[in-house]
């Protein structure tokens, strides 16, 4: 019985992963034949867009998906649906102004949609302030609502009983894992409670977004450097504002070294506080982007060779293999982001024991 359920689980996993690879293969346009076309197809997948486009019919040029709201600030607020652009093919008109999407960005144009190119092929048209609900933003809102439901239910449940019910039973061990294996060892028994909210939110937010990237939705939110930069900024601000006197003393007047060395160390230590969140940002972004590129390239193998059956079978097998690895990476990156955030916060709030040599503390990171 037990073996049977494991077999069923593996089967579901396999079907899920191969379906998502099919969906990705189809999502961004028809036949891809040459190297530049494959590059364009991968680039298009990695970028944010103004609508959800699940797949397109290469022959008729039809797109299947749904539009998202565009919000522009340009002499007043302008709100309209991205279906007005017809997937970037036409000019959209709002309150007498005309806009056009050019290389994934919205520019202000005249009624014909002329884009004037300046030096180095950059458009010279003016750009409105863009607050659109793009694919990434919509996915993040979806994830937030999902988190709210999942953990709101769990929190409500604790008012009645100590045992969680239903889906809460899946979540409770993960919450305890974050507390006992990430927060307490790094921040310490006394102070970890203040940071649990942030650590849990970051952990589940990143994990769910990573997993959504593996679904046929074809989103790439954590592989967007602006998103990871914002997440890293949260860690940076929280670390700096919760830091104690010792932390600042170690930055501005490092104890135990000659005076000249103290002065040299100030800029180095200041830079050190910035490189930590920078590394957090790059790590998450690069890992997820690399994973997506590898899967997309393996799927693109179908269109490279001559024998379509052999190419397809090899390509799908490899893509399935990498997809399963990516499921692991999705968890691992969420874990590492949370773990390093906890570590940095822990270094900032650490109480130094003056009975011991204070340089025995970890200051390598």
């Amino acid at each position: 019985m037990h073996n049977f359920s494991i077999a069923k689980f593996i089967l579901v996993l396999l079907v899920f992963c191969s379906l998502s690879t099919f969906a990705k293969a189809e999502s961004d346009g028809g036949a891809v034949s040459s190297k530049s076309e494959i590059d364009a197809y991968i680039d298009h997948h990695l970028q944010d867009s103004y609508d959800y486009n699940f797949w397109s019919d290469g022959e008729t040029g039809e797109h299947f998906g749904f539009p998202l709201p565009i919000i522009l600030i340009d002499d007043g607020l302008k709100v309209f649906l991205s279906s007005k652009f017809h997937h970037g093919e036409t000019v959209a008109e709002a309150d007498g102004e005309y806009y056009k999407i050019y290389h994934g960005k919205i520019y202000k144009t005249d009624a014909e949609g002329t884009i004037t190119l300046g030096e180095e092929n950059h458009p010279t048209n003016s750009k409105p302030l863009d607050f659109s609900i793009t694919k990434n933003v919509a996915t993040m809102i979806l994830t937030s609502i999902l988190l709210l439901f999942m953990f709101g239910g769990l929190a409500k449940n604790y008012k009645h009983s100590k045992l969680p019910k239903g889906f809460g039973r899946v979540l409770e061990p993960l919450v305890i894992y974050v507390r006992d294996d990430i927060a307490i060892p790094n921040i310490g028994e006394k102070k970890y409670r203040n940071f649990m909210g942030f650590l849990l939110t970051v952990f589940f937010f990143i994990w769910i977004l990573n997993l959504l990237g593996m679904t046929p939705l074809g989103v790439n939110v954590t592989g967007n450097i602006a998103v990871t930069a914002c997440l890293a900024l949260f860690t940076y601000v929280i670390t700096q504002f919760s830091a104690n006197k010792e932390y600042w003393k170690h930055i501005f007047w490092m104890p135990g070294v000659p005076v000249l060395m103290k002065i040299i160390l100030i800029p180095i230590e200041l830079l050190g506080t910035l490189t930590k969140p920078f590394a957090l940002m790059i790590r998450l972004f690069a890992n997820i982007t690399a994973g997506h590129v590898v899967i997309m390239s393996l799927i693109a193998l179908i269109f490279v060779g001559n024998n379509i059956y052999a190419d397809t079978s090899i390509s799908l097998l490899l893509a399935l293999f990498i997809s399963v690895i990516e499921l692991l990476v999705a968890f691992l990156q969420a874990y590492i982001f949370t773990m390093l955030s906890a570590l940095f916060i822990g270094l900032a709030v650490e109480e130094h024991d003056h009975a011991h040599d204070e340089h025995a503390t970890k200051e390598i990171i």
Partner: protein, 65 residues
């Protein structure tokens, strides 16, 4: 410009691979010596690996930009 870029990327990957190999190998030895401390060793290993990886990725991305 394409070829120096690719050679650089290869060098980065060689460096990162050597680093990861060293970390993994030492962790394996440590776990073999003290199996009861394997949890702590694994955590430390993952942290160091993550830091190394961050550096390698930073180099790759800054090299491309």
């Amino acid at each position: 410009m394409e070829i120096p870029l690719l050679v650089g990327a290869g060098l980065i990957v060689i460096g990162a691979g050597m680093g990861l190999g060293k970390i993994g190998g030492s962790a394996m030895e440590a776990i073999a010596r003290q199996p009861e401390a394997s949890g702590k060793i694994q955590t430390a290993m993952i942290i160091i690996a993550a830091l190394l990886e961050g550096l390698a990725f930073a180099a790759l991305i800054l090299g491309k930009a």
